[in-house]
């Protein structure tokens, strides 16, 4: 009985994430098809990647015939944050999370899934996590398919308006954090300034978009890690250590 309720608790916690993903993945579907991918290619990208920022950056690389090195390195850097989240999550798992389950859950360890799972007061097990990732995964896939398939049936002004949704989601992640943490705010501004330089300065603007993301994000993060390293006990792992 307790096992069943753990799954249900995860399911309930996942629903808000699912609804958020529906709108964002809908916009991604429109964007990818508008960039030249087919409906099925777009769906396969969402079903195998489940990552907004990485997918968004990959589409122009694919449609413009970029190199595999550019694609791989952009995905690596953009998705590097998941490594931190997986490291943090690895210390919050209970004994039911054996190797096969870790292999499965890692597939859908998105920003929002991680944030919800890591904020649970107790260690989380496989039933809770499977409940948690189920609807976000379906929402991400379904929204992408619908956006890709019928996005062009919508009036042009509406689909172009939906293009802003994914950036709204990014701002919803960035701004609250930057508001609370001054060094993060500085990092965000620094990264934005570098990004603008690569957009508007003549020679720099020729650098492929995948590399621009890598260069700017790594530069801003390295600078901030040097001038404003985080306090020794600021990480999620230390909380677990205190609980233990």
């Amino acid at each position: 009985m307790k096992k069943k309720s753990a799954f249900m608790a995860g399911l309930v916690d996942g629903l808000p994430i699912c609804f958020g993903y529906l709108s964002v993945s809908f916009a991604f579907g429109i964007f990818a098809v508008g960039s030249g991918l087919t409906v099925w290619e777009t769906l396969f990208i969402s079903m195998t990647n489940v990552t907004s920022a990485g997918q968004l950056a990959a589409v122009p690389i694919i449609t413009l015939g970029g190199t595999l090195a550019e694609l791989a390195s952009s995905q690596f850097v953009i998705n590097l944050r998941y490594a931190l989240m997986s490291i943090s999550l690895s210390q919050r798992l209970d004994g039911s999370m054996t190797l096969p389950h870790r292999l499965a859950v890692a597939f859908v360890n998105t920003d929002e899934v991680f944030a919800v799972a890591a904020s649970r007061p107790e260690l989380v097990g496989k039933r809770y996590l499977y409940g948690l990732i189920l609807t976000p995964y379906l929402g991400w896939s379904t929204g992408t398919l619908v956006g890709a398939a019928v996005g062009d049936l919508l009036p042009a002004f509406l689909t172009s308006a939906l293009g802003i949704a994914i950036y709204g989601m990014f701002l919803a992640i960035i701004i609250p954090k930057a508001r609370e943490d001054r060094p993060t705010a500085v990092c965000v501004v620094l990264a934005a300034v570098l990004s603008c330089l690569f957009r508007y300065v003549p020679l720099l603007s020729r650098v492929p978009s995948g590399f621009v993301i890598i260069i700017c994000a790594v530069a801003a993060s390295v600078v901030m890690a040097i001038v404003s390293p985080i306090p020794e006990k600021a990480q999620g792992e230390s909380e677990v250590a205190e609980d233990a």
Partner: protein, 108 residues
Amino acid sequence: MHSFWIYLLVMAGVTYLVRMLPLVLVKKKITNRFLLSFLYYIPYAVLSVMTIPASLYATGSLATAAVGVAVALVLSWRKKSLIVVAAGAVAGVLCAYLVITYLLPALG
């Protein structure tokens, strides 16, 4: 230029390995402060680079996109949820579009 399937394999493979390897391999705490700090900042730096200035070109109109971004900034500053901020940005763009397309010409 490569086959779509090669691109798909590379991006899905890299994304999965980045998520999976730490979850499976990391057994003890990371203690290197520089590495922890770098990993702490990288998500926000990435999202910032992707959002600015690209979001201003997301709708095909600098004016409507700027309104959408402004609405998103206000809502996210007030710590609204992901879906509220995203929907608010879209609504802002639509309102700006209607004003620019219908109201301003009507006013002459």
